[in-house]
């Protein structure tokens, strides 16, 4: 019979909490960088010249069909072998996750851009706005509201993906679990607590996002 002993887990609870915080921060930074990539690629795909469209589509299709772990390994192990080595493991992971999320966010923003009614953009052009002005004052704000729920879901997915950072020894929550496990061998306790921490964080974020969505909801 398994003997439960929670002490080792709670003695190291700060390790887990710091890991949780690091995971959330990495997800947030990746979402920010990924959104920039996604925005650029979405405009390239919808309004860019033909070669730009092809490049953006190739990026989206390639990244969406390749495992995140492979991208992480390529950036962390592959780039230094090719002579690019200026990142620690945390930034290397953030860059990987940003590249990965950028492909999904491209589709999110593209759907958002396409959902903005033609009447809106045509009206803006008719009153003499330039294409850049239309993008900035009409398409972007409307698209942001349409894309907000999908952005929120992407953030939660990215937060769960930060568990893969443990593969390159980034001290986030899953890595904390591995560390405690190695030092104390309290397997069941550690993974129960860590699983619950992930669950609680995911549902807390989901709840916050729902409130945010209600505030920015479109009045139609």
């Amino acid at each position: 019979m398994y003997q439960f002993n929670w002490r080792p887990v709670f003695d190291n609870f700060d390790l887990l909490l710091r890991g949780l915080g690091l995971g959330l921060s990495m997800a947030a930074v990746s979402l920010a960088i990924g959104s920039l990539i996604g925005l650029a690629a979405a405009f390239a795909r919808t309004q860019g010249a033909r070669p730009l469209q092809i490049v953006a589509s190739a990026y989206v299709e390639l990244v969406r069909n390749v495992p995140l772990l492979l991208i992480i390994y390529f950036v962390y192990f592959g780039l230094p072998l090719l002579g690019v080595s200026l990142m620690d493991n945390i930034w290397s992971f953030v860059l990987s996750l940003a590249l990965y999320s950028g492909a999904y966010l491209t589709e999110v923003f593209r759907a958002g851009i396409e959902a903005v009614g033609r009447g809106q953009t045509e009206a803006a052009r008719a009153i003499g706005m330039t294409r850049l002005q239309v993008a900035r004052h009409i398409t972007l704000p409307l698209m942001f509201r349409i894309a907000l729920p999908a952005l929120g879901n992407t953030f939660i997915a990215l937060f769960k993906d930060t568990s893969l950072a443990s593969a390159i020894a980034v001290p986030e929550l899953t890595y904390g679990a591995i560390r405690i496990n190695v030092n104390t061998w309290r397997v069941i306790e550690v993974y129960l607590v860590v699983g619950l921490l992930y669950l609680a964080a995911c549902y807390a974020i989901a709840g916050l996002l729902r409130r945010l969505e209600r505030r920015f909801a479109m009045v139609t």
């Binding site: 969406r64 495992p67 390529f74 769960k160 061998w185 397997v187 993974y191």
Partner: protein, 214 residues
Amino acid sequence: MMELVLASFPLIARGLLVTILVSVAVLLLGTLFGIGGGLALLYGARPLRWLVRIYVDALRGIPQLVLIFAIFYGFPALGLQVSAIFAGVLALALFCGAHVSEIIRGGVESIARGQVDAGKAIGLSFVQRLRHVIVPQALRRILPAWVNTAVEIVKSSSLVSLVSVVDLTMAIQQVVGRTREALLFYAVAATLYFAINFTLSIMGRRLENRFAHA
């Protein structure tokens, strides 16, 4: 150098085979879990429905990697010896099952209530309604979403390399470590994953188009 590169291909081929086998096993098992879970969510008695709801919501809020570690390290602690590949397949299948449960529930609930009532009115039994009214229509919504899940599972199968299963990702890591040819071999791995998943995606899109006009 060339010899090293050539000598790596059998290892990569074996890794590819493991990736395909793990993905197929996860999808088969996960789809079975999902059919059971979906039916329980739709037609189960209240306590069963709640249990399955907890399973589905819990598994969607925990990273797949944590599930794999929990089973791989947790089962032996409880006195059950499991191989790495078994732990990986079981963890991913549980995750897959949660997603498929929701896909099936959503697909069936999207069918207009009147259809089921009409079936009842002309005297069809529950099983007959399922077979002739619900399944043919729900399948149109379920299949494209299922294909998306399949793509995600092929990608997730790379996580089994973290419990030291030599799948495609692990094979590539070993080969890159040995040959230091990063660009070539990461490109090979990306191409192989892409080939599998792009084929799946195209099949999914075909299904979608076919059913959209049916």
